[in-house]
Symmetry: C2
Subunit: 434 residues, 2 copies
């Protein structure tokens, strides 16, 4: 039998699982504070759920097949179509705005390379039914508070934000023909990674004159104050500048203003996003985007007939895990072993008193282990040390001074004459499981 | 777009997700106290991982296909092969006994009917590397403590236990030819559901004489004391009776003796189990088995070359969910909305003070929501009531007697002059998220 998982798939041994659980628990803890409710859908869905949104090209990237009932199906490559389906099915009954999140495992058949797997877990946070820019501010603040909860600061991560409506307004004001916008978007998207001359050439061949080419190339460095000063009164731009100013003001009030960088080169999916978009990056530029999202007001209607404004983001477990590991911040949520219960040998009723002891300590919420066979005391204690027990309880019903002896490194032994007394002490002195 | 999931697959809307989360959290809380560590593997595995264990017949029940790299693959129908693969790959390095658990989603293409889905989640708890019967006692006690944590008692659920070695010893003692054992097993497995005459006929045609047929048919009612008294000194039976007596004594010490019923008709997978086996059932007999497991000492060797004794059980989320619902015990783990923050209208800096308030309360661990657009105060309060907020914070920076007013049903309004004072009070009076 092969001892390996499929290429691009991960085994989570307990050490890796405890790191994944730390990421999941941090995600859930923060998102719940924002009054989002968790949902989940099937990891296998009808294939058309994905081709309807992304076209037939997506099939080359899918784990798709025909099931035994002759249905074309696919393992989910993203959560949004399932989310749209579920919201669409109950659109009338759901309280608005819908505030939902999910932690699905997603699957894509991609070429495997460093940091590129064929499965990952992705936090999905979405708001449906609110067009106001305050919802956009709330959304990105969640992603940033998650960074903060992981121990990252605004020196480690920044949120690059743009607004598709503002950008479109600028392109209109610059008198760039709408037919050239896709080319301009494509250049902006690559502005950081592509030589300036190549970008300039592409803009020129899209029909932009030399002066306009320079303005667009300048979008990679321009800050919001400059845009506001230069174009804030232009008719095609005015309302979008005002809205974005409100957005930034809300972000300050939400306490995340220092993390924000205005960046017109943040484009994201062309057919998908309609308003404010954002991506989170590490400040060093060492990793791919940690998180991306924005407003997609038309998508639900185009997918499910539910005409509601919507916005959301996705954050995968792989990039954030790599970033946290590189910063020494990837914690483990493993429950430490509170007690190893050992039975003194040659007592009449052993192991029964040891078992009763373990049961009582567990009922008190403690993590407890003991040897699952009869062993001499020194072998039991050695096994407990290997299990990294924080404390030992040595049970000896024949001991005159107390049948329960607690031994901890750096402490005097403590003796207890009743199991109740031991459990009361354990409850006070040892973390119990939640 | 279809608004339904595939047949046999579930959408988990927030209400259903909160019930699933209650089941998951109870599973994890109890199993962790027993010092088990959580692991996970890929939901997609090489097809041969399953055919090697179960033969080619299993393929008719699988979600299997050929991936884009020409690999025959299957969505996991059970966790044990992945577990065996993972343990096998690190068998030398792992501390023994291995105590691992997992909560995988599993997939089978079965005919859908009431309570039969094509996916479910299954708690898997396994111990590897310990042959002693104390490990068997520890294992079933976990399953029972889980029942107890759900609020079920020994009046609701019983654990039916048997031992394949004891049964084989009895068949040997009764001089039943080993070639007839599979037929005897099959009859025992169906003894409760099949007319007595049919069972008798099948045993007779397997070669058993009339007296032996009567003895075997009596196995459905015989208790352990009777077996011990009748066969306890027979050479083929003696050691197995002694071992089982130790098992029962351990279970008493572990506090779960009252839940146990000796039941020789518990057979489970023929090719799989080698020792003590058990199933948990509701006492009314209303539902299918809640949980099943036992000792499978030869399986790891046959799968992966790791010759280690092992035992484990699986408990699905569907049957336990149905049982808990029928008993009024299916809780929800949804986080209630602690505060709805409303801004008094017509104040100069609203909504900024409201946003700062929401941020501060969230930083204190509280679940907080507010209107994501400007609204009159009465509309905001109405939205908060629909969201079932436990308390309102009405923010009015111009109020002379305190900018933060806390309103709760059945209480006088409370006024706070600083945000710090409000947060200190909130931390004391409102459950924060973990």
């Amino acid at each position: 039998m092969s001892q390996k998982p499929l290429p691009g798939f991960r085994d989570f041994y307990p050490e890796q699982f405890a790191e994944r659980a730390h990421i999941f628990e941090t995600w859930r803890r923060i998102v719940r504070r924002y009054a989002f409710q968790e949902y989940d859908g099937p990891p296998l869905e009808p294939l058309e759920l994905y081709t309807q949104k992304s076209g037939d090209e997506i099939v080359t990237q899918l784990y798709n097949f025909v099931d035994k009932g002759e249905r074309p199906v696919a393992m989910r490559p993203e959560m949004t179509p399932t989310f749209a389906r579920m919201v669409g099915a109950r659109a009338q009954a759901l309280r608005k705005p819908v505030r939902w999140f999910s932690l699905p495992q997603l699957f894509r058949y991609e070429r495997t390379q460093k940091g590129r797997l064929r499965e990952h877990f992705q936090l999905n946070v979405d708001i449906v039914g609110e067009a106001d820019v305050l919802a956009d501010a709330e959304l990105v603040s969640i992603a940033i508070e998650i960074m903060s909860a992981f121990g990252l600061t605004d020196r480690d991560v920044r949120a690059r934000v743009s607004d598709r409506r503002l950008l479109n307004g600028l392109l209109t004001h610059l008198e760039i023909a709408e037919s050239s916008w896709p080319a301009v978007y494509a250049v902006l998207d690559k502005l950081e990674r592509q030589p300036r001359e190549v970008s300039a050439e592409k803009l020129a061949s899209a029909g932009l004159d030399a002066a306009t080419v320079d303005v667009v190339l300048g979008f990679s460095e321009v800050d919001f104050a400059t845009i506001a000063a230069r174009y804030g009164e232009a008719p095609a731009v005015r309302e979008h500048v005002a809205r974005f100013r409100d957005y930034l003001s809300h972000l300050d009030a939400l306490g995340v203003g220092l993390w924000i960088r205005f960046d017109l080169t943040i484009v994201r999916g062309l057919a998908y996003y309609t308003g404010i978009v954002f991506e989170l990056f590490d400040n060093v530029g060492e990793f791919r985007a940690i998180c991306g999202g924005g407003r997609y007001d038309n998508l639900l209607k185009s997918l499910g007939g539910t005409d509601l404004p919507a916005l959301g983001f996705g954050m995968g477990d792989v990039v954030i895990g790599e970033l946290l590991r590189s910063r020494g911040l990837l914690r483990s949520n493993a429950s430490p072993l509170a007690f190893w219960v050992a039975q003194a040998p040659d007592t009449a009723d052993a192991p029964q008193t040891a078992l009763r002891t373990a049961t009582a300590l567990r009922a008190a919420g403690c993590v407890v282990e003991y040897a699952l066979r009869s062993q001499k005391l020194d072998k039991q204690l050695e096994a407990g040390r290997k299990a990294e027990a924080r404390a030992f309880v040595i049970v000896d019903p024949s001991a005159a001074d107390g049948a329960w002896r607690v031994r901890r490194a750096g402490h005097e032994d403590q003796l207890f004459t009743t199991l109740d007394a031991l459990c009361a002490w354990a409850t006070l002195h040892h973390e119990s499981t939640p």
